[in-house]
């Protein structure tokens, strides 16, 4: 049989097929802590090349893993068992922009923020704004159904994808969804979004573009008690308002951020809330007034309303640089991602603190409070002996208490390898079999990013294990 690497060289071009040790080591994981190993990395530049690569992999019965920027946090892009990494990074053209219909076709390797920048002069943007938006790709956003602070009002990635060109695992190129609103048949587009690279490779993506708001008001509220902040969040929503963003930071996180950026954040507060409303002026002023009074009624100590764009940017900088700030405290962090009903936020946050304390770990919380999407951040120094076991154990407990509170395993990072074995916390074997059936219909070959998302029994006896030492 011919050699895999040679065949891939024919499929793309030999100079875009790499198997050197140093290069492979760059692709052995994503931004998670899961290490794998790739046998070869290739860089197709067209749909036809992606198709050719997929066909080579099928011919060699070799699994392959699509990869955007590798910023995924659940191990989705981590290659296992010597899989072929198919990097979409070189497919980074914005193909067309239709300002009137507010749609754009892009290649999967376009970076999220680059798209918004490219349409800014039209008064439009791409609404999903993950914190990683400077570096993550639209293809990765589609595969993970990514979210961000401004997805509270405008919805996560699934709400902004109208059509996809996909190379299916058997090698067919199809368009699913459409520029038109109701393509015939099942919503295959919706099924593909969030499929974590296991239903095929997206090679072109038609996104919906969103009108920029004519006006924005950004507020910072601070509280003596985390509960008061959380209750303010619920009360705002219960009052019939859906702010553009509603983000919360706890004391430890606020202090770290303030030391880092000097934005004048109240470092003695137990929690701060960043609330942004967007829209037309009268509705905005009305909402600002109501949010201030709801905050005050729930114990807000002060309310700072950004007076200009510079102050607004500073407040957001605090939220967006939280990870950088935290790196100054300890060298390593593990970022979790679960969702709980908003009303359960105070209770689950207390459990998170208790769990971290019991495992002798520092935890900081900076999260999308408006949709109950918790992001407990465990910070540690991995050189400390035994610390990874504690981080692992605490993480598992955080997931368990979230689901027990009526929540879900992941709000935006996906399941990947990280939470694959937690899926039974939420789903019965029958539920999982239905998800495996979806996968089997899209990928009869079983070669597209296998062993992710579905725990082994539901994956038709396809038993693979997370490699030893994966938690490093």
């Amino acid at each position: 049989m011919s050699c895999l690497i040679d065949d891939l060289g024919v499929a793309v071009s030999p100079d875009r097929v790499r198997a050197g040790h140093a290069e492979l080591s760059l692709y052995r994981r994503d931004a998670s802590n899961f290490d794998g190993s790739a046998s070869v990395v290739c860089f197709p530049m067209t749909t036809a090349e992606v198709q050719a690569v997929v066909r080579v992999c099928v011919a060699h019965a070799t699994p392959y893993v699509a990869r955007g920027s590798g910023t995924g946090l659940a191990g989705g892009a981590t290659p296992l068992d010597g899989a072929v990494v198919v990097s979409l990074a070189k497919m980074d053209r914005i193909i067309s922009i239709d300002a009137q219909a507010r749609q754009a076709w892009v290649e999967p390797g376009v970076l999220n923020l680059d798209l918004s920048k490219a349409v800014a002069h039209l008064g439009l943007h791409f609404a999903p704004d993950p914190s990683s938006q400077q570096s993550c790709t639209i293809g990765g956003n589609v595969a993970n159904n990514s979210g961000g602070p401004h997805c509270l009002a405008d919805g996560v990635t699934a709400a902004h994808i109208v059509a996809l060109e996909v190379v299916l695992p058997e090698g067919d190129i199809v368009i699913i969804g459409g520029e038109d609103p109701d393509p015939d048949g099942l919503d295959l587009r919706g099924a593909f979004v969030g499929s974590e690279g296991m239903f095929g490779i997206a090679t072109k993506i038609c996104v919906r573009l969103t009108q920029n708001a004519p006006a924005v008001r950004t507020m910072l509220l601070d509280f003596d008690r985390v509960e008061d902040g959380a209750e303010t969040v619920s009360a705002i929503i219960a009052a019939g308002m859906v702010p553009a963003a509603l983000e919360m930071m706890d004391a430890l996180c606020t202090r770290a951020v303030e030391e880092y950026i000097h934005a004048g954040l109240p470092t003695d507060a137990a929690a701060i809330l960043l609330v942004e409303v967007a829209g037309l002026s009268h509705g905005l002023e009305d909402q600002v007034a109501r949010i201030i009074s709801i905050g005050k009624a729930h114990g807000a100590r002060t309310v700072r309303v950004a007076q200009d764009e510079a102050e607004r940017a500073l407040l957001w900088k605090g939220r967006k640089t939280a990870f950088g700030a935290i790196a100054r405290i300890k060298p390593n962090y593990y970022l979790h991602d679960t969702v709980v009903p908003r009303r359960k936020l105070p209770e689950v946050l207390n459990q998170v603190y208790e769990i971290a304390k019991r495992h002798d770990l520092l935890v900081m919380n900076v999260f999308h409070a408006g949709d109950g999407n918790l992001h407990p951040l465990l910070v540690f120094d991995k050189r400390e002996p035994g610390v990874m076991e504690r981080v692992h154990a605490a993480g598992e407990e955080i997931v368990r208490v979230s689901v027990a509170a009526g929540g879900v395993l992941s709000g935006e990072h996906g399941i990947g390898l990280e939470k694959r074995d937690f899926m039974p916390l939420m789903f019965s074997p029958v539920d999982l079999a239905a998800q495996a059936a979806m996968r089997a219909a899209f990928d009869p070959t079983g070669l597209a990013n296998p062993t992710k998302v579905l725990p082994s029994p539901a994956a038709c006896g396809d038993v693979h294990h997370v490699p030893e030492g994966a938690w490093i």
Binding site: I176, L186, L188, S195, P214, G279, P341, V430, A437, M438
Partner: protein, 291 residues
């Protein structure tokens, strides 16, 4: 609510094919096939979470009334049952502002062809735990499973909701407005639905030269076209239609020219059907490509 009884009814494989009866507002069940009825009734409404749980057999009207009492709504077409509306999957004329119907379904228990109760999705608004089976169910017209109960996302009712009209160009009107909830066009008149703060609605309408009107036009019901919004211009020589600008749905008095179907897409549909209903006993004869 008796989900297990419903499951037993669906799962009675000895009796062969099975169809589901809603309130027949959307064409009803498959003729000549044994029917089952989904559980009905609102289980709970969590106003502060903006979610509601109900049986798929619940009447949309009952749900609307209950939600209106707490100042919320769901953009389901106002007739028939909740399960029927989701299975057909058609969005209403407020899709431009509210988003498509498929986005309201957060979690479903459906009954599989084997009679199992299967959970899809999860109870929170944000959720990426596993593959998105809910999207596949909306619009599947009972060919993959029968909806038993659902958790849906609600939205707050606006302070003001007002229809306007103008004879100005619909595309210019659409471009001039900030997030209108609906913009309709029949080739001559443009209608726009604006919602929000009363003063914003008034100022937007004045700025775009809109005049207040009682409501949207009557919609031709012979056919429902689906066109890329960029192609709606082409309709300007037609009559007997109302087009949803910015969306692409066209309510038309004549049928849409047949569209071609990619064999690879059809094959994917067939594989899904084989996976979910290998003996084709659920709603036999329902063809998703013949609407």
């Amino acid at each position: 609510m008796d989900l297990n009884g419903f499951a037993a009814g669906v799962g009675d494989t000895a009796q062969g094919p099975v169809s589901i009866a809603g309130s027949s507002s959307r064409g009803g069940s498959v003729p000549g096939v044994r029917t089952v009825t989904a559980p009905a009734g609102i289980e709970w409404i969590q106003a502060d979470e903006m979610i509601v749980s109900c049986g798929a057999g619940t009447l949309v009207a009952e749900l609307d009334a209950a939600l209106a009492e707490i100042g919320q709504s769901i953009a389901l077409a106002p007739t028939g049952t909740v399960g029927g509306a989701l299975s057909v999957g058609q969005s209403g004329i407020r899709r431009l502002g509210y988003g498509p119907l498929r986005d309201v379904l957060l979690q479903a228990h459906y009954i599989s062809a084997a009679g199992d109760v299967v959970k899809a999705g999860g109870p929170t608004v944000k959720n990426v735990s596993g593959f998105d089976l809910c999207r596949l169910l909306v619009g599947s017209r009972g060919t993959l499973g029968f909806l038993g109960d659902v958790i849906l996302r609600t939205r707050p009712l606006p302070a003001v909701s007002q229809w306007f009209s103008t004879t100005a160009d619909p595309f210019a009107t659409f471009a001039a407005l900030y997030r209108p909830v609906s913009v309709l066009w029949d080739g001559e008149t443009t209608w726009a639905l604006l919602e929000g703060h009363a003063n914003d609605v008034r100022e937007q309408a004045a700025g775009a030269g809109l005049v207040e009107t009682g409501g949207p036009p009557a919609l031709p019901s012979t056919a429902r076209w689906s066109l890329p919004p960029a192609q709606l211009h082409m309709l300007s020589t037609d009559t007997g239609f109302v087009a949803e600008i910015g969306v692409g749905v066209v309510h038309h008095s004549i049928l849409q020219p047949a569209r071609t179907l990619d064999p690879a897409v059809l094959a994917l549909h067939q594989r899904l059907k084989e996976q979910f209903d290998p003996t084709a006993r659920l709603n036999p004869g329902v063809d998703l490509f013949d609407i």
